[in-house]
């Protein structure tokens, strides 16, 4: 009785006085007795049936669990084939895909924040590749040996923390076969590549360009990429500057992002190797809007070319101010971080941008122009958002091809050996994708030679054909 009193006192009367429909005076007269009686009746009833109800709930749970457990991937007994020998010998074992379960491929791309257009563009490329792998665009993904292939997208946040969290989330799902990502090198280097590599999950990136990722000393054996190494693009832009534009002095600006800094340094090294002079290497802060100080400093050395491989927000402001401060004679050159309609509109004509040669991908050009691009516009309602959708497409196809090669069916369950998959991807040779003929080298670079082009902005758009194009190879 005491229990009920306290309970009513604390919980009910106060709440009831707020919510009850009955007028206040009436309520105060009627309430305590009415409620108590009603509740006691209810409690008595419940007490009688308590055991029965609990039993029913438990039975229902058990029944539901048993009913579905047959088809669950992790429960054994109902399958009769057993894992093939290759799984026992594989250092990381196999991904087991039970019959009826999908094959899961993860993606780890930047889909939030200011760089999201880079990641979304790649994600679209993957989605289209999974759709088209059977030869048609029909909004249904390819199936491999009767299993649907599904994409599990994750965000890399373009940062080391984001890459770690996303990689841990994907690594926790033992059904993930391989991961396509990351968008930003800082999300992969020493973080995502290691976390996934330690679990034997292959990571293949469509847009990482940092040389460190495939450098002998720092690479992870489970890491690959279809994007070109910064060293290639830096060298190509240097050749454009020195040989094509014929300039002998150049200045660089980076914005403190690893991408921009790496590219600016690669350019400077190649430009000086060609015989040019770097007059100054400067830097700005992300979020700055007024670049009069840095431009004055650059102008003091009067370089003939300014290379700024930065991003859209600062890039368009920098170009506008550079045009007034430096005058028309200085060649303004950016890179693929600036590939966006917003930049073309803001920057105006006469600016050069380097990047992969989308006009004539060395690979299947017809596929790209006649099938890929129209479908992209139809499905996502815009021109490609960034430069790496085709690299993502190629990465996805390499993964699919490798899965088909190594997957073993046994008693309805599909077994995909993890190291075996890695080896199959590493053995990729002479695969004709959109971006070129891809062959992975020993360090994980699947694009050891790439065609880099420089496009001019004409009439507020990036010209369809490049002004300069060159094939560069690692070593």
């Amino acid at each position: 009785m005491v229990r009920l009193e306290t309970w009513l006192g604390t919980h009910n009367v106060s709440r009831a006085s707020l919510h009850s429909p009955i007028p206040a005076r009436l309520r105060q007269q009627l309430w305590p007795q009415e409620r108590k009686l009603e509740r006691n009746r209810l409690l008595m009833k419940l007490k009688n049936y308590r055991g029965l109800m609990a039993l029913l709930v438990v039975l229902a749970l058990v029944a539901a669990a048993c009913g579905s457990s047959d088809s669950d991937g992790d429960s054994d007994g109902s399958t009769n084939g057993g894992p093939p020998a290759v799984c026992a010998s594989d250092a990381f074992g196999c991904v087991e895909v039970a019959s009826g379960d999908p094959i899961k491929i993860g993606s780890l791309l930047v889909t939030t924040g200011p760089n999201s257009s880079l990641g979304l563009d790649s994600q679209y490329g993957i989605e289209m590749a999974l759709d088209y792998a059977d030869g048609t665009f029909d909004d249904t993904n390819i199936t491999i040996q009767g299993h649907d292939v599904v994409l599990v997208p994750e965000d890399d946040g373009c940062s080391a923390e984001g890459g770690t969290a996303g990689a841990n989330k994907l690594a926790a799902d033992t059904q993930i076969v391989a991961v396509i990502g990351t968008s930003c090198s800082s999300a992969a280097l020493g973080t995502a590549d290691k976390i996934l590599g330690d679990k034997g999950v292959t990571l293949i990136s469509p847009s990482n360009t940092s040389p460190a990722l495939t450098a002998e000393a720092t690479r992870n054996p489970f890491y690959f990429r279809t994007a070109h190494n910064d060293t290639l693009q830096g060298a190509a832009v240097a050749e454009f500057a020195y040989n094509f534009e014929g300039v002998k002095t150049a200045a660089t600006i980076h914005d403190g992002s690893p991408y921009a800094e790496g590219l600016a340094n690669a350019f400077a090294a190649s430009f000086e190797a060609l015989g040019g002079t770097i007059t100054s290497q400067d830097a700005i802060q992300v979020g700055d809007t007024d670049f009069s100080g840095v431009l004055a400093s650059i102008q003091a050395e009067s370089p003939e070319l300014l290379y700024f491989p930065i991003f859209v927000g600062e890039g368009s402001l920098l170009v506008q101010q550079a045009k007034t401060t430096l005058g028309d004679s200085v060649v303004l050159t950016g890179s693929d971080g600036l590939w966006s309609d917003d930049f073309y509109a803001a920057a105006g004509d006469g600016v050069f941008l380097s990047g992969p040669d989308v006009s004539a991908f060395a690979g299947d050009a017809a596929l790209y122009k006649d099938i890929f691009l129209p479908r992209y516009a139809e499905k996502y309602g815009s021109e490609p958002l960034s430069a790496f959708h085709a690299h993502a497409w190629d990465a996805a196809n390499i993964v699919l091809g490798a899965i088909e090669k190594v997957a073993v069916d046994s008693g309805g369950t599909l077994y995909i050996p993890r190291s075996g998959l890695r080896d199959a991807i590493a053995a990729t040779s002479g695969y004709t994708g959109i971006t070129g003929t891809l062959s992975c080298n020993g360090n994980g670079d699947c694009q050891p030679s790439a065609t880099i082009a420089v496009f001019e902005i004409v009439g507020g758009k990036q010209a369809a054909d490049p002004v300069f194009s060159v094939v560069k190879s690692l070593e």
Partner: protein
């Protein structure tokens, strides 16, 4: 128009505006693809219905100051219908703008896509769609209003059941992976990214029954007390032991990802405790706490990294001949942080309040700029940062494994917790409290303000740098991108949200503020959007923090402050004007 009716209409208009807001920022379209019950109902629909119902329910609530209760069924229905009609009418207008006047609405309002228009009109013509929307609002409002008819238990049971099933559905991808990891069959519960019908019913029933059960015995605490031999006193012990046990086995129940998130929560507990000493105990507003986090991370990185950074493809020599053991590096790091803390604190001792805030903010930015700069690149690696930071050596265990690192982080968080408690009640803590309340009087009473301020800065810096040290060892990199102003703000939010000066508050605050955004990953690009809204909502509902510090709470509840006013929701304060 009676006042009640006017109020219902006003609530309805606000409800309609909320749905229109959700539509115009793109949430409805994005959540249309997100299942609650697979192939039955999606999140966008649930969001619309919940909004209508919530305003219908609110409209039926009795007013303040003994205002007579309304006929809540009618109020709910009117509110819902008005909300639905608002949405419908605007949708019809927009449709007219697009099709009738051929305005390119989407060039301004990017989220007003054909998909959205179709969603708002249920695939029908605009007029029919508007009528259907009004009907939906009417039904939802009526249902919500009728909740006022039910007994308190029934209402709570229904609400909890509904919440359980919505949250269960939103967390489905995460829970599914966790259950798979534990080899628990779950196909009857989850289907791809949503619940099955069975799952929805089971979740609703399970949580509803649990709530009913706890009502019956008067809450879990009462239930435990009924067990023979328990009393209030030993119950506290039992709960503490259970909590510790829970913390100890947690990583093995959840998967790597959740352990990783919990590790981050632990780091923020460390940081929060450190900042709590500066802000909560000593009353010095520090907006640049990230400086110490960065100092910790970079010191450990420089001391233990195997190779430094890479430029243009060539491996340069290590900044310092690396390979120092983490446990040797940590004391050095703490020493460096204390020196920097004192160096930052000393020049600004005379500053108070917001001047101190902006100066510390400035120091945070200065440190970030320094590690990012080309100028000191030879030391700190510039934008590329320092990589290959050694893992924490611990009896040969793999401390990069989130489930192992978890214990290390929480061990140190526990240590910081202990130190915080001891400091708070010690002579130092009392000196800080005196200083916080009134610096001049404290000084007059013989508290050396200079000494205690510096002590606060130094202690805060030491704890913060410890957090940074673990951060670098956990990620294996120290990169300037990780040390932005946002970190300082987040840590401060942890302290304030938990309750300024409250030690358990820091723990709860970290769980809410760091755990939440990670779990909100399911909302994709709307993660920070919702986070911002939650921050505002919590502060308005509980301005004293989730677990207020007792002494501070007393200050707040002095009669002339009238905190009761502000504790009420925004809606309730209308009457005060």
């Amino acid at each position: 128009m009676t006042p009640e009716l006017r109020r219902s209409v006003r609530q309805g208009l606000i409800g309609g505006a909320v749905v229109l807001y959700l539509a115009s920022v793109g949430m409805l379209v994005a959540f249309d693809a997100r299942a609650i019950i697979t192939n039955v109902v999606n999140f966008a629909t649930v969001l619309i219905v919940i909004t209508f119902a919530a305003f219908g329910y609110l409209a039926g609530r009795p007013g303040k100051g003994g205002e007579p209760a309304q006929p809540f069924l009618l109020a709910g229905a009117v509110t819902g219908a008005v909300a639905g009609a608002t949405v419908g009418v605007v949708a019809v207008l927009v449709d007219f703008l697009i099709t009738g006047l051929e305005w390119d609405v989407r060039s301004m309002w990017t989220s007003v896509s054909p998909t959205l228009m179709e969603l708002l009109s249920f695939g029908q013509s605009p007029i029919v769609g508007a009528l259907l929307m009004t009907l939906l609002g009417f039904t939802a409002g009526l249902a919500a209003g009728s909740l006022h008819l039910a007994t308190t238990i029934t209402r709570k049971v229904i609400l909890l059941g509904l919440m359980a099933f919505v949250f269960g559905a939103l967390g489905a991808p995460l829970f599914k992976v966790m259950l798979d990891g534990m080899h628990i069959p779950n196909r009857w519960l989850f289907d791809r990214d949503g619940l099955t019908i069975t799952g929805a019913i089971v979740l609703f029933a399970a949580f509803g029954l649990a709530r009913l059960g706890s009502f019956r015995v008067g809450g879990p605490r009462q239930a435990l007390l009924k067990v023979p031999g328990t009393s209030e006193k030993n119950l506290r012990w039992v709960i503490s032991v259970l909590a510790l046990l829970g913390i100890a086995v947690l990583p093995w129940i959840v998967n790597d990802f959740v352990s990783d998130v919990l590790g981050f929560v632990g780091l923020y507990i460390l940081l929060g405790l450190g900042l709590n000493i500066v802000v909560g105990f000593a009353g010095l507003l520090d907006l640049g706490y990230v400086a110490f986090y960065a100092v910790g991370a970079y010191s450990v990185a420089i001391l233990t990294a195997r190779s430094s950074y890479l430029v243009g493809g060539s491996v340069t020599a290590p900044a310092v001949a690396g390979y120092t053991n983490f446990w040797v590096a940590v004391p050095i790091t703490i020493l460096i942080a204390v020196v920097i803390g004192v160096a930052i604190g000393a020049p600004v001792l005379r500053l108070r309040g917001d001047y101190l805030a902006i100066v510390t903010l400035g120091f945070g930015e200065i440190i970030r700029t320094l590690v990012l700069s080309d100028w000191l690149k030879a030391k700190f690696g510039g934008p590329q940062g320092l990589t290959e930071v050694a893992a924490v050596p611990f009896f040969g265990l793999n401390t990069r494994d989130p489930q192992i690192l978890y214990y290390l982080i929480y061990a140190f968080a526990g240590l910081a917790l202990f130190i915080s408690y001891r400091l708070k009640t010690s002579r130092v803590g009392r000196a800080w409290a005196a200083m916080r309340e009134d610096e001049d009087i404290a000084e007059g009473m013989g508290v050396s303000v200079i000494k205690y301020k510096l002590l606060a800065f130094a202690t805060g810096a030491a704890v913060g740098s410890l957090g940074g040290a673990f951060f670098a060892a956990k990620l294996s990199v120290a990169n300037p991108g990780s040390f932005t102003l946002l970190v300082s703000i987040n840590v401060l939010a942890v302290v304030v949200l938990g309750g300024i000066g409250s030690i358990p508050g820091v723990v709860v605050g970290s769980l809410v503020l760091v755990g939440l955004p990670e779990l909100l990953r399911e909302f994709g690009e709307f993660r920070l959007h919702i986070y911002g809204a939650i921050l505002i909502a919590i502060m308005i509902l509980k301005p004293e923090g989730l677990i207020p510090d007792k002494r501070r709470a007393l200050e707040l509840h002095q009669p002339d402050h009238q905190p009761e006013k502000s504790v009420l929701s925004a809606e309730a304060t209308e009457g005060i004007q």
